[in-house]
């Protein structure tokens, strides 16, 4: 298993797996299987997959360290970029299918639904990370600055949950918010604990 994870096909397999939800959504769109409110289905599905991608991306380091499997690191960038892809689609679906690309309507909508603003801010952070995700960017920025920038993924996790919670607050329906919130809290908590232990060892 670990040997296979080091191979090229493993990377391609993850890419294929990561594009499956998108393929499924495209298929349902063109075969009219998105239910009574297709726009809503697409917006929610891309949002859900962004959250799942974020959880998976943030799980790479804890898994790598706990299992002692350094080869997992190879997949972190791909997972991050896939997550960015779903987040971008989420925004496109909102702006296009919900708002009809009417910018005046969007500008009016944002103060009404501040969670849209929170989501946009999260996507901005993701865009910065996606733009600096290639090897050359690490060299150009310097490892330290690059790492500082990419630590904004922790802020991103908090913004993503805030965005989801705020959206769901409309229906007093927090079950799924709790699920994602607890997973992300556990993943961030693991890091906090590690830093704390490092500090106290020194």
């Amino acid at each position: 298993m670990r040997l296979w994870l080091r191979t090229r096909p493993a990377w391609w397999a993850l890419l294929a797996l990561g594009l499956l939800p998108l393929a499924w959504l495209v298929w349902r769109t063109f075969t009219d299987q998105l239910g009574a409110n297709p726009a809503e289905t697409l917006i929610r599905a891309t949002g859900d997959w962004t959250l799942r991608g974020l959880c998976l991306t943030l799980a790479v380091t804890p898994l790598r360290v706990q299992l002692g499997w350094p080869e997992l690191l190879r997949f972190r960038r791909l997972l991050g970029l896939l997550t960015f892809g779903y987040a971008s689609l989420h925004l496109v679906c909102y702006a296009w299918f919900d708002m009809g690309l009417d910018w005046a309507d969007i500008v009016r909508d944002i103060p009404k639904r501040p969670f849209v603003l929170v989501g946009s801010l999260a996507l901005l952070l993701m865009t910065l990370m996606a733009l600096t995700s290639w090897n050359g960017a690490i060299r150009r920025l310097g490892a330290r600055r690059w790492q500082a920038l990419h630590r904004s993924v922790y802020a991103l996790a908090v913004l993503a949950i805030l965005h989801f919670w705020w959206m769901r607050a409309g229906k007093h329906n927090f079950n799924e918010v709790w699920v994602y919130g607890l997973i992300l809290a556990a993943l961030l908590g693991w890091r906090l604990r590690r830093w704390w232990m490092k500090d106290h060892r020194a």
Binding site: N37, E40, W96, G170, H172
Partner: protein, 331 residues
């Protein structure tokens, strides 16, 4: 640059202003005549299917006979939502908060035997059986727009009679000013009632004059059949000029009271949901705009949302109920 006009193409005069009544009332007959062969085979088949698909249920539930309503406003010319969409996409929190939950979970609801308790300030209180209630008025088919507070809408052919018929029969006492509706909350059959989203049972209310308005409907069926469980069987309220949540489902109790009842949503979030909850594009929900709506099933993915109409398009009929009221305050 996009050139936009204030005319949405949606606000037109009532069809009755243009087309002679006899003609527009026989619209569906015309479609059937087309189906009979007058307009060519392809078109005919298409028209017949269209006419049937719009107005008929799935044929699984018992039929409920009715006559077309002649009440002004009760026959909207908008294209009815498909039965499938109307029965698989709705809110009925007693069966879960997702709009696909009611269709999935409501099969557990037991609708027979069913009684409705009428109590409070009435001369003829009592516990009335469903079969009796169904005989208290002439079953009419009324095609109403339904606007959900969440920003989507449908067009549904309901079957029932004016709530006013029931109210007149039980004879409110002079002190009765409001009507409170209590709906079923059965932990055994309703999974949502076991969760804590709202305080159960679900309670709604109307001012007595609102409840007496002929457009306020006591519905027993839709699409020519009895109500499916997920849409509020065996009887529900339909108040077409108010947001959908005011139209309480699966009624078990109707109380006549002197004080304004506190509805479930008012209790859960008083700053967001008022007692009146009339459809009003000019008064936004605190967290989203109410100026537009997405018509389920009709607008394609790329179609723009349509403008929401004052009192959901029933202003001519119900506007006078709110004359002089500040609708921003009494939202």
């Amino acid at each position: 640059m996009l050139i936009r006009s204030s005319d949405s193409g949606f606000v037109h005069p009532a069809a009755s202003d243009i087309t002679p009544r006899v003609v527009f009332e026989s619209r569906r007959t015309l479609l059937q005549h087309m189906a009979a062969g007058a307009a060519g085979l392809t078109l005919a088949g298409w028209a017949a299917r269209d006419a049937r698909a719009q107005m008929k249920g799935a044929g699984v539930l018992p039929a409920l006979a009715s006559v077309p309503s002649t009440l002004p406003g009760a026959q909207t010319m908008d294209k009815p939502t498909s039965y499938k969409d109307a029965t698989t996409y709705n809110n009925f929190y007693e069966f879960g908060t997702d709009k696909s939950d009611p269709a999935r979970h409501a099969h557990t609801l037991k609708t027979r035997p069913w009684t409705v308790e009428v109590e409070g300030l009435v001369k003829k209180p009592g516990r009335y059986g469903l079969e009796d209630l169904m005989k208290w008025g002439t079953m009419e088919e009324r095609i109403y727009r339904l606007r959900c507070v969440e920003g989507w809408s449908m067009v549904i052919p309901w079957v029932g009679y004016s709530l006013a018929e029931l109210i007149r029969r039980v004879e409110p006492q002079p002190g009765a000013k409001f009507v409170e509706f209590v709906t079923l909350a059965d932990r055994a059959t309703m999974p949502g009632v076991r969760g804590g989203v709202l305080d159960w049972p679900y309670v709604e209310g109307l001012r007595l004059d609102e409840a007496m308005h002929p457009l306020a409907l006591l519905a027993f069926g839709m699409y020519g059949e009895v109500l499916p469980n997920q849409n509020g069987a065996p009887l529900r309220l339909v108040v077409p000029w108010k947001y959908g949540f005011k139209s309480a489902k699966s009624l078990v109790k109707i109380r006549f009271v002197d004080k304004q009842p506190v509805s479930s949503w008012e209790q859960a979030a008083p700053q967001e949901y008022g007692f009146y909850s009339n459809v009003n594009p000019a008064v936004d929900h605190p967290r989203w705009s109410q100026a537009t709506e997405r018509r389920i099933g009709e607008d394609g993915l790329l179609a723009k949302k349509r403008k929401t109409l004052m009192f959901n398009g029933y202003e001519a009929q119900v506007g006078q109920l709110y004359a002089g009221m500040d609708l921003k305050k009494y939202f």
